[in-house]
Every structure is written in structure tokens, then in C-alpha cells.
């Protein structure tokens, strides 16, 4: 029965989160599902991973995206394609007012508060800030999974801890 459910689910759009991967030509998407344990009558989390075709590289690590299965498998691994990015990671918009939010507060409110106290030049400016990804591979190592360092290579891999 579980197999049937999984097969029918493949035809629909799926909502998942992009996770770090070493694959360069595909995005790895984690789809969270709840599975019923019939003995305990309780739902348990069950993750499924899909490798998705993403030629334009629209989704980055952490984004919530919609994916759909391809009519034919692209490779042995790549079975789905990324339809669209629903929620970009760390760039949240309030759905009711349409304003940008950081945690529980509006960004403009925080700006207003800083202005009242006397804004300094060292303040972070959202308008001047470049798009996400300019530190990727320089100081921000989150696009690939990190692992325990197991050997001394000639070249030091920053993803080895």
C-alpha cells in the first residue's frame, strides 16, 4: 500500500527543502513525510530525497521549492525537476502585508528604531547588500556537505572538519 501511495505521489507536485550536495548538475531536495505506524497508531517523520534537474541553478541550499517528476528519467539518479522557489532561505516576506521580515520584526521597523537612536555608518544596509551567494565558497561553506577529515591531502578541502 505504501508503495502505491509513493507512486501516485510521484505524479503530483512535491514541496521540499534543498539540502547541501556534492552533485554539481542537480539539486538534492528533501521531502518530509509522515508515516503511520499501525502498531502504535502514531505518525513518524520519514524523509525522502530526490535529485532534481536544475539547469538554471535557481535553488540554493535551504530554499523551499516545488518539484515535479520528469516524464522520463534524465539519468539514473535525476528523476525530478525544480518548478519554482517558493520560499528563499533567509529572506522572508510577510504573506499578509508583503513586507520583508527578519525574525519576528519588520525590517523597516528595525531601521526606524536605529534612526531614532542615531543611525551609524556601520549599520547593515539591505538596499546596498548584494544578492545571496557572494560569500559562497569564500567564507560561507554551506553549499556542500561537510565531513570528518580523514586524510592529509596536498590540497586542503574547506569542507573537511
Amino acid at each position: 500500500m505504501a508503495r502505491n501511495v509513493a507512486e501516485t505521489a510521484r505524479k503530483f507536485l512535491l514541496l521540499g527543502q534543498c539540502v547541501p550536495t556534492v552533485k554539481q548538475n542537480a539539486a538534492k531536495i528533501r521531502v518530509k513525510r509522515l508515516e503511520l505506524d499501525e502498531n502504535l497508531l502514531m505518525y513518524f517523520r520519514k524523509d525522502e530525497f530526490y535529485y532534481c534537474h536544475d539547469p538554471k541553478k535557481v535553488c540554493k541550499t535551504g530554499d523551499i521549492v516545488l518539484i515535479q517528476s520528469l516524464p522520463q528519467k534524465l539519468t539514473k539518479l535525476i528523476t525530478h525537476e525544480v518548478k519554482e522557489v517558493v520560499y528563499p532561505f533567509g529572506d522572508i516576506t510577510d504573506p499578509i502585508t508583503g513586507k520583508k521580515v527578519a525574525k519576528e520584526r519588520y525590517r523597516e521597523d528595525m531601521d526606524r528604531q536605529a534612526e531614532l537612536y542615531g543611525k551609524l555608518d556601520s549599520t547593515f544596509d539591505y538596499n546596498k547588500a548584494p544578492e545571496r551567494g557572494w560569500q559562497d565558497g569564500k567564507k560561507d561553506f554551506t553549499s556542500k556537505p561537510t565531513y570528518t577529515k580523514f586524510h592529509v591531502f596536498d590540497e586542503n578541502d574547506p569542507y573537511a572538519i
Binding site: G62, G90, G118, R132, F141, T146
Partner: protein, 274 residues
């Protein structure tokens, strides 16, 4: 008796490895070290003659004599005052307004200042266990705050990394003790991949080198067929387009081959020089 003999004769441990990979165990690096904590920068350059944080605000110190200034300098007041200046320097890089002490960026800057001067003291007294624990706690706390900041404000997170000169690495899937077996397995896998890729590349090279002569032959044959068909007034099956297409392919191959030959020559020269 027999069993004992069998045990000594048949070795179960230390079976010789047939794959020639050499494993070098990475050295132990204490967690407080900058390369582990992700600090790309040491203490900020604060001179020893800098005046303590509170005293620098007073009017009298500005036109005081040298000896008075020396008494109120960081060198004389002690390490604690110096550390206060370190924290202030880092917070000044990111704070929003004058009274900003509780936002995420100032908290992270404050912790970074603490971590940097504690790392400096840890280098002097590496056996200080209490301090080692303290640095570890601060580093973990900062990492946690950075993780949260990344989740709710990615742009600010990246800006903060640049400003404070910190590296951020994601959590690995599992933290575990490194074992010889696991390392050797991974190395062997890499070795096998290398062999396979090399064989594939060699085979590809071989096929590509045969492409040129074949295209040349094809071009000649097509031209011959076309000319003979025209001569004998037979229905023409080979069009001009076919011939130009093959010609184009041949030209492309020539350019590619040239680049390859040049690369090969360069490699040979480098080997000869060495």
C-alpha cells in the same frame, strides 16, 4: 592444541593491503585553535599605549602629561582593560546605533572579541583546562547564533562574515571518531575512481584520435561520389550541404587536436625540465 596452532598460522588481523594507498592520519588540532573555530584574523592591532575605555572619555586626560597617560594606558591597567578595547573594536564594526548591545550582530561581535583574546591566552597557557572549556562554550554559542542568523537573514549573515572575518561551515551529518578502516575505505574508493576515470579518458583519446582520419576519408569519398554522379548523369544523392557539414566537423576536430597536441608538448617539456 590444534586450535592454538591454527590461530597462530592463519592471521586474521593485519592482512596485507593489495591496493597501494598510503594513509596519513590528520594531526589532532585542539578545538579552540583559529583554524577550527573559523577565525581568519587575530587580535585587532591595538597599541599598548592606548588609554583604557572609560578613561579615554575624560577631558583631563587629553592634555595630561606623558607619565599620567602611561599610568592610564592599557599596558599599565592590565589585560582586562585591553580585552575591553578588543571587544569594543569588533562591536564598532557592526553596531547599528550607539546603544546597540542586544542585536544578533553585536552579540556575535562581542563573542568574537572574547574568543580571539581567549585564543591568544590559550596559546600562552595551553594547559589551562577551565579556559579551554570556556573558549569552547563561546565558540559553540557563536556558531549557534550564526546558524540562527543564517536562517532568518541570509544577507546580513554574509555581510557579518565579511566584516568580522569569520568562516562558517555547516554541521556534518555525523560527528564520529576517525577510524583507520573508514579512511582506508574512502581512499581505496578514490583510488579506484581515479583508475576508472583514467582508463575512460585514455579510451576517449584513442577514439578521438581515430576521428580525424575517418572524417578525411569520408570527405574524399563523398566528393568522389558526387563528382561521379554528376559525370554519369545519375540521380544525385550527395548534396553540397552534406559535404560542408563533414568539412565543418573535420575543421572542428583539427582545432581540438591542435589544442591537445600543444598541451601534450607542454607536459613533456615540464617533465623534461624536472
Amino acid at each position: 592444541m590444534l586450535r592454538r596452532l591454527a590461530c597462530t598460522v592463519v592471521q586474521s588481523r593485519g592482512i596485507k593491503h593489495t591496493v597501494n594507498v598510503k594513509w596519513v592520519r590528520p594531526d589532532y588540532v585542539p578545538a579552540y585553535k583559529p583554524e577550527k573555530s573559523g577565525d581568519l584574523e587575530g587580535l585587532p592591532p591595538i597599541p599598548e599605549s592606548a588609554i583604557g575605555k572609560d578613561y579615554s572619555l575624560s577631558e583631563e586626560i587629553k592634555d595630561a602629561s606623558e607619565s599620567v597617560k602611561k599610568i592610564f594606558s592599557v599596558a599599565h591597567l592590565g589585560r582586562k582593560e585591553y580585552n575591553r578595547l578588543v571587544k569594543e573594536e569588533l562591536i564598532d564594526r557592526v553596531k547599528r546605533h550607539q546603544y546597540d548591545h542586544s542585536t544578533a550582530e553585536t552579540k556575535i561581535a562581542f563573542l568574537t572579541g572574547q574568543i580571539r583574546y581567549l585564543q591568544d591566552t590559550m596559546d600562552k597557557f595551553p594547559r589551562n583546562k577551565k579556559m579551554k572549556q570556556l573558549v569552547q562554550e563561546k565558540i559553540d554559542r557563536r556558531k549557534k547564533l550564526l546558524k540562527y542568523l543564517r536562517q532568518y537573514d541570509y544577507k546580513k549573515f554574509e555581510w557579518l562574515l565579511e566584516k568580522l572575518n569569520i568562516e562558517y561551515k555547516g554541521h556534518p551529518e555525523s560527528f564520529h571518531k576517525l577510524s583507520r578502516m573508514e579512511s582506508l575505505r574512502k581512499l581505496t574508493e578514490m583510488h579506484c575512481d581515479d583508475i576508472r576515470n583514467k582508463k575512460l579518458a585514455d579510451y576517449r583519446n584513442l577514439l578521438e584520435s581515430q576521428q580525424g582520419p575517418y572524417l578525411q576519408q569520408k570527405l574524399d569519398a563523398l566528393k568522389l561520389i558526387r563528382s561521379e554522379q554528376i559525370e554519369l548523369k545519375l540521380p544525385i544523392t550527395v548534396t553540397e550541404q552534406d559535404i560542408t557539414k563533414v568539412q565543418q566537423q573535420f575543421d572542428d576536430w583539427k582545432i581540438k587536436d591542435d589544442i591537445k597536441q600543444k598541451a601534450m608538448k607542454k607536459k613533456k617539456n615540464i617533465v623534461l625540465e624536472i
